[in-house]
């Protein structure tokens, strides 16, 4: 080290390596936190079971495929809300209050790294695995929900995760403690969940609902799985992309708003 004049290798590890190292630690933390783990693994399945039994999915004359796709969309929406939104808000608050974020930012970790790291296990392990297992489960129990356009299914899952991840970072800014997350996440959940398209809503509300954050996720799931649009028309593979335009735009819009909100409100150190 002595005599080296230029800081030639004063650069951090690649972003991929950094993220993997941080995400590995976050995965361990998730596995060791029983409440968060139960939230992540059991809650979505339990919710879907409950709704499917109590309310039924789809119209009485809906095809088995439509019901299966509806159940899967519900699974995704509930997983996004509880696994991504609620658990991530908790993780961000916990890391901040433990002053882990402060430490990470002294090193090679960027703010984006610090936000992405807890999101990786949530999205990859939980949402995608849950979607895969859910697909197998509804196929066995009801009917295969189809796979008209897998790209749109993936866009639904990842796009929804990005929107809710950004809103989670913003919500974390309003949460002083891990416990208070139960309250601070409530407004967004109450505002988002009823309009996500899981339950029948009057037409007037439905038009507005199309512009809420998670409605595009159910729309994209419908398009991607059964290939039918909101009006119930069956579309070709190419046509599904056209129909996906509006929901993707809505997701992009909410992503922008979410990122702006996160930049505005996320805090990196505890209040003194």
């Amino acid at each position: 080290m002595i005599g080296s004049t230029a800081p030639a290798d004063a650069r951090p590890a690649s972003r991929t390596r950094r993220l993997l190292a941080l995400a590995r630690a976050e995965t361990l933390l998730l596995v060791r936190n029983r409440a968060a783990l139960a939230n992540a693994l059991l809650l979505p399945v339990g919710f879907v079971g409950l709704f499917a039994v109590l309310g039924g999915v789809g119209d009485d004359d809906a095809s088995g495929q439509a019901v299966a796709a509806g159940v899967l969309a519900m699974l995704l929406v509930v997983a996004l809300i509880f696994v991504v939104y609620y658990n991530l808000t908790t993780a961000y608050v916990a890391r901040r209050e433990d002053r882990v974020l402060q430490r990470l930012l002294t090193g090679s970790t960027t703010r984006v790294d610090a936000l992405l790291a807890p999101a990786l296990p949530a999205v990859v392990v939980v949402v995608l695995v849950q979607l895969g297992l859910g697909y197998a489960a509804v196929s066995a129990m009801i009917e295969p929900p189809g796979m008209a356009n897998p790209v749109l299914v993936l866009v639904a899952a990842l796009g929804g995760a990005v929107v809710l991840g950004a809103i989670a970072a913003a919500t974390a800014g309003f949460s002083r403690t891990v416990e208070s997350v139960q309250l601070t996440t409530l407004p967004a959940i109450v505002l988002i969940l009823p309009f996500a398209g899981l339950f029948p809503t009057p037409d007037a509300i439905s038009t507005v609902a199309r512009f809420t954050p998670l409605r595009p996720v159910t729309e994209l799931m419908g398009l991607g799985l059964t290939g039918t649009d909101a009006a119930g028309q069956t579309l070709s593979f190419v046509e599904t992309f056209g129909a996906a335009g509006l929901p993707v735009l809505v997701l992009a819009g909410w992503t922008t708003l979410g990122v702006l909100a996160a930049r505005r409100w996320m805090r990196w150190a505890p209040r003194r």
Partner: protein
């Protein structure tokens, strides 16, 4: 070879609203040296150190760290920087070694985790959850993370606060080892003994400014030395003298008598001590509890950072 400082600060200022925590600091840190930044709480040490670490932008002035602006070009210096904050946390559900591996994964050229664990005597605690570590063990883990990436510049904000004397000495040995390997260290501390032990140079801060800077010897050079004694007469009874009874001393800065104890401050310790001893022999006095010593860093620190003893007493 051209002289290029690892850290260079010129006219640096930092403000929090109306309060100015750093008020125009000029400071250089040369390659391979340890500079100890001293000051009371609120003197602006941590505010200044955060600017060097690139965690916040300066409101005025120029800062270069490893040849770059530490805030705007942080990604260019961060791999060469090892930082130990005063209060940074851990996830208590990760073990020591998991925490180290996570940190190592973010670095371009990490040292082997096992080697650093051994250096900090944490090997036996590798598989213990961080939440179960003692305060001293956590501080050592702090330091372990700071040195894990082979930093060229190590910034340690009160590294031994809360450590027992033995752990403190262990940290000192480690820091000395890093210096021998060529690292440059900026350290803040409350412990003047620590600065005397480790520092090539010290900088004393007061109210956002560096009020004295130099080697420990230079920092104390301007401070008067002390002579203290309790005069007794031949049979052994304490004599109550006043300052007018004392002999004339050329280096005298200040003298007082407190319950029989005579305290002299002098800028010419050897000469004035000789005068006092001669005076005592001529008057047949015994000087009990005789002490004569050069100014310590603590004394220089106290007089600079908090005002002089006289001011405090007054």
């Amino acid at each position: 070879m051209t002289f290029e400082p690892i850290v260079s600060l010129r006219g640096v200022r930092r403000r929090y609203g109306p309060f100015e925590a750093v008020r125009g600091v000029d400071l250089d840190l040369r390659r391979g040296e340890l500079l100890a930044l001293l000051g009371t709480n609120g003197a602006g040490k941590t505010s200044l150190v955060e600017l060097v670490e690139g965690l916040a932008p300066a409101d005025a002035g120029q800062i270069r760290v490893l040849g770059h602006d530490p805030y705007r070009e942080r990604s260019r210096i961060v791999g060469g920087l090892g930082v130990m904050l005063q209060e940074a946390g851990f996830s208590s559900d990760l073990t020591t070694v998991e925490t180290m591996r996570m940190w190592a994964g973010t670095l371009a050229r990490p040292r082997p985790v096992d080697e650093v664990l051994a250096d900090l005597a944490l090997t036996s605690r590798a598989d213990v959850r961080v939440g179960s570590l003692s305060g001293g063990e956590r501080r050592r883990l702090d330091l372990a993370l700071a040195i894990l990436g082979h930093p060229e510049l190590l910034v340690l904000d009160e590294p031994t606060t809360g450590l027992d004397p033995e752990s403190r000495r262990a940290v000192w040995r480690l820091v000395r080892g890093l210096l021998e390997d060529g690292a440059t260290v900026l350290l803040t501390t409350h412990y003047l003994e620590e600065a005397e032990e480790l520092a090539d140079r010290v900088a004393i801060m007061r109210a956002g400014r560096v009020v004295r800077e130099g080697t420990v010897a230079e920092a104390v050079a301007a401070e008067p030395a002390r002579i203290e004694f309790v005069p007794h007469d031949g049979p052994g009874a304490t004599l109550r003298l006043t300052t007018t009874d004392l002999p004339a001393m050329p280096g005298l800065v200040h003298a007082d008598v407190d319950r029989g104890r005579v305290r002299v401050r002098t800028s010419a310790l050897q000469e004035d001590l000789e005068i006092v001893l001669t005076w005592a022999r001529e008057h047949g006095l015994r000087l009990e509890e005789l002490e004569a010593r050069s100014a310590s860093l603590e004394q220089a620190f106290l007089s600079l950072a908090e005002g002089t003893d006289e001011e405090v007493a007054a």
